[in-house]
């Protein structure tokens, strides 16, 4: 939807400005945790041949992609990266299958079932033809638009209450279940307007996976990227930006958006719920809470990737990684393939090289948690499997 592109453009412009300003200050800070001697990272911004690439998909990753692409192009001569199209994880997967883009963004690694559903008829594409590179770590915030509630005392909600709201069993804000969790808050006697995604979405997957893990008795369906069936009166928006706009414009609404959209959209900060985690503690989303969730499950794979509902008193319960899907055997020219793996390598790492910062330092400024060291290593190992026209590894030190 075009409006949200406009909104996104404005958000992007703001994000780029913030990043540019911070770039001046950050190198000194980043220098303290420089991964010295990372020859790949040092070579990532050096390209011998001019090339152009582009990606599309997850809106969860869009604020990062928008800021990081600008930062990368400023450092790497010869590199052109077309504006990231935030069209949702599902479309990101369709687009990489159809080779419309060089990488597809998704919050859920693409399964063979996804491919069967989406591939053009007559094709028989295997999931093993693709590689999934973790590029960011973020959380999903539950935000609400309720007049008269102070931002300082966030509503406390549980997975069970959220599942009941999304199933349409709890319909009013002053229902006993919500009141019991928030005894001191005077809740309005209005109907709850449930907001969700209108497009196939990885954020929906992370959210429904949380409901399924934490409240399996209420949320009977398997986690899925698919459009949710909302209760009567529910509002659906296109992309995280669309849901954010719907919540902002609809009194009594509640919905789920990626945490960085809340940071970019200060009016949503008025109502960010504290969610009860596995240890029974109610937490509002924070970078520390998301990092704790990731730390609780350090080893992830493309088939066991969820970090929802992790143990630990400080772990925020709705979190996840977002991934870039690339073809294992590069489908474009070697110059484009080299740019692609170098950009994704730069994007998935932190550390100062030649006095500048890498992608995960940009991520920290956009409301994401920098990828843990072992996940950065996973990204590197994955990218080293991408091969070019002669079977050569594209991620090299020679500048391609």
């Amino acid at each position: 939807m075009r409006i949200h592109r406009t909104v996104r453009l404005a958000v992007t412009a703001a994000a780029v400005a913030v990043t540019a300003l911070s770039m001046v200050a950050v190198p000194a800070l980043a220098g303290t945790r420089a991964t010295t001697g990372d020859r790949y990272l040092a070579a990532d911004t050096v390209l011998n041949k001019a090339a152009t690439i582009g990606g599309a998909g997850s809106t969860f990753a869009a604020p990062l992609q928008n800021a990081a692409q600008a930062a990368f192009m400023a450092r790497a001569q010869n590199a052109t990266i077309n504006g990231y199209q935030a069209v949702g994880s599902g479309t990101g997967e369709s687009d990489i299958l159809k080779k419309v883009v060089d990488w597809g963004g998704t919050d859920v690694p693409m399964s063979q079932t996804d491919i069967y559903q989406k591939e053009p008829s007559g094709y028989n594409i295997r999931a093993s033809a693709f590689l999934e590179v973790p590029i960011a770590l973020g959380g999903v915030a539950i935000t609400y638009n309720l007049a008269g509630l102070s931002a300082k005392t966030p509503l406390i909600l549980t997975a069970s209450v959220l599942a009941n709201i999304y199933e349409g069993h709890i319909t009013n804000w002053n229902s006993a279940a919500i009141q019991a969790l928030n005894p001191k808050v005077k809740l309005p006697a209005t109907k709850i307007v449930v907001a969700a995604r209108a497009d196939s979405s990885g954020t929906t997957y992370i959210f429904t996976n949380f409901l399924r893990s934490a409240a399996p008795k209420v949320w009977a369906t398997q986690p899925s990227k698919a459009v949710l069936t909302l209760p009567t009166g529910g509002v659906a928006g296109s992309g995280n930006a669309g849901v954010a706009a719907d919540i902002e414009n609809t009194p009594n609404a509640i919905g789920y958006v990626e945490y960085s959209y809340v940071l970019l959209n200060p009016s949503l900060l008025k109502g960010v719920a504290a969610i009860v985690n596995k240890a029974g503690k109610a937490l509002t989303p924070s970078l520390a809470g998301i990092a704790a969730a990731a730390a609780a499950k350090a080893d992830i794979t493309t088939s066991n990737f969820s970090i929802d509902w992790q143990p630990g008193a400080t772990a925020y319960p709705i979190a996840g990684y977002t991934w870039a899907i690339v073809w294992k055997v590069n489908q474009t020219s070697d110059a484009q393939g080299t740019l692609l793996v170098k950009y994704l390598d730069w994007l998935s790492h932190s550390g100062a090289v030649n006095g500048t910062t890498a992608g995960q330092d940009v991520a920290a400024l956009q409301g994401y948690v920098p990828l843990p060291a072992n996940i950065q290593a996973l990204a590197r190992a994955t990218l080293l499997k991408v091969t070019g026209s002669r079977g050569q590894v594209l991620l090299g030190t020679n500048g391609g």
């Binding site: 939807m1 075009r2 409006i3 406009t6 069209v87 949702g88 599902g90 479309t91 997967e93 369709s94 559903q117 989406k118 008829s121 209005t190 109907k191 307007v193 209108a198 497009d199 196939s200 369906t221 899925s224 698919a226 459009v227 069936t229 909302l230 009567t232 009166g233 529910g234 509002v235 659906a236 928006g237 296109s238 706009a245 719907d246 414009n249 609809t250 009194p251 009594n252």
Partner: protein, 310 residues
């Protein structure tokens, strides 16, 4: 005229005709290809769900249920709301522009109409979402509920983003179309008839009612038909203000969905079966537009018959 020049004129005539036949033939071909490809692409959905696509009540991607009754209802309801306001206000403004307003005001209003007609629909949607939605939610919808005592279809909590708002935005979008086309139809009613009727002692209002409106009827019906088709098919603006919830709206203040906005939002990442189901929605939308056109034509022919033209 010489033999030669006659020959030339016949030849050029032949050339003209072949171009015209070619153009109309091409047009017919494009339409046929378009229609056939939509029908073919929707076949898997019809064989999966049968006619329940039309009367089914559940539209869900995850369970492969494709029943569009609620979406069809949303489409018809938003269009009906828009026409309910746009016809009287649009035709009234057209009469005023042609026969009542002084010259300068006439030009000003006419250019305003043309300006509004040129605004892209995404701008109407943005305006609806950012300006109208809060106003509807705080003032219009509670007001309507207050006046009617919250009876159907004005019950349920005001939401802003709603069926009523989508109808309201559509009303503003089709209004310039109705004004501009009706104005042109009214303006071509011969001045002699107008002045003749005045000269036999009819009042201006009587002349407008008995002479101008019947004379311009064909054009006005044409304007309404076109506006209805636009309202049925409007995509972006409606998608932004209706809430995109494919459920039966219990009240005008509730969210809903329309055929065109569902197609636009779900097409990009649809499973093959869902693509077919969206093709079926496109077919339903085309059928609805065809019915509107058929009624428009029937009405025009009927009125022309009564007026003794045919």
């Amino acid at each position: 005229m010489t033999e030669k020049s006659k020959d030339f004129s016949v030849k050029s005539d032949w050339a003209h005709w072949s171009v015209l036949y070619g153009a109309s033939g091409l047009f017919a071909l494009i339409c046929a290809v378009f229609l056939i490809s939509i029908i073919v692409s929707s076949i898997p959905a019809w064989s999966h769900s049968g006619a329940s696509i039309i009367y089914g009540r559940v539209w869900s991607q995850s369970t492969n249920s494709f029943g569009a009754l609620a979406i069809i209802t949303g489409t018809l309801a938003t269009t009906a709301i828009a026409l309910f306001f746009a016809i009287p206000i649009g035709v009234g403004s057209a009469i005023a522009i042609v026969h009542l307003l002084p010259g300068r005001l006439k030009i000003l209003l006419s250019s305003l109409v043309e300006l509004l007609a040129a605004v892209p629909s995404v701008v109407y949607g943005l305006w609806g979402l950012l300006v109208l939605a809060p106003w509807f939610e705080k003032t219009v919808e509670p007001g309507l509920a207050g006046i009617t005592g919250g009876r159907f279809p004005f019950q349920a909590p005001p939401e802003g983003v709603s069926l009523l708002l989508a109808g309201g935005v559509l009303f503003v979008m089709i209004l310039p179309m109705i004004v501009a086309l009706s104005r042109d139809a009214i303006a071509v009613v011969p001045n002699e008839q107008f002045e003749g009727a005045l000269s036999v002692g009819a009042t201006k209002w009587q002349v407008i009612r008995k002479v101008v409106l019947p004379g311009a009827r064909t054009g006005i019906v044409g304007a309404v038909t076109l506006a209805t088709a636009r309202a049925l098919g409007e995509t972006v603006a409606v998608a932004m203000v209706i809430g995109l919830n494919p459920l039966f709206p219990p009240s005008l203040f509730s969210t809903a969905s329309t055929l065109a906005s569902t197609i636009a939002l779900q097409f990009q990442d649809a499973t093959p079966l869902q693509v077919a189901a969206l093709g079926a929605l496109a077919l339903i939308l085309m059928a609805m537009t065809a019915i509107v056109n058929w009624f428009g034509r029937r009405f025009v022919r009927g009125s022309a018959f009564r007026a003794g033209v045919i």
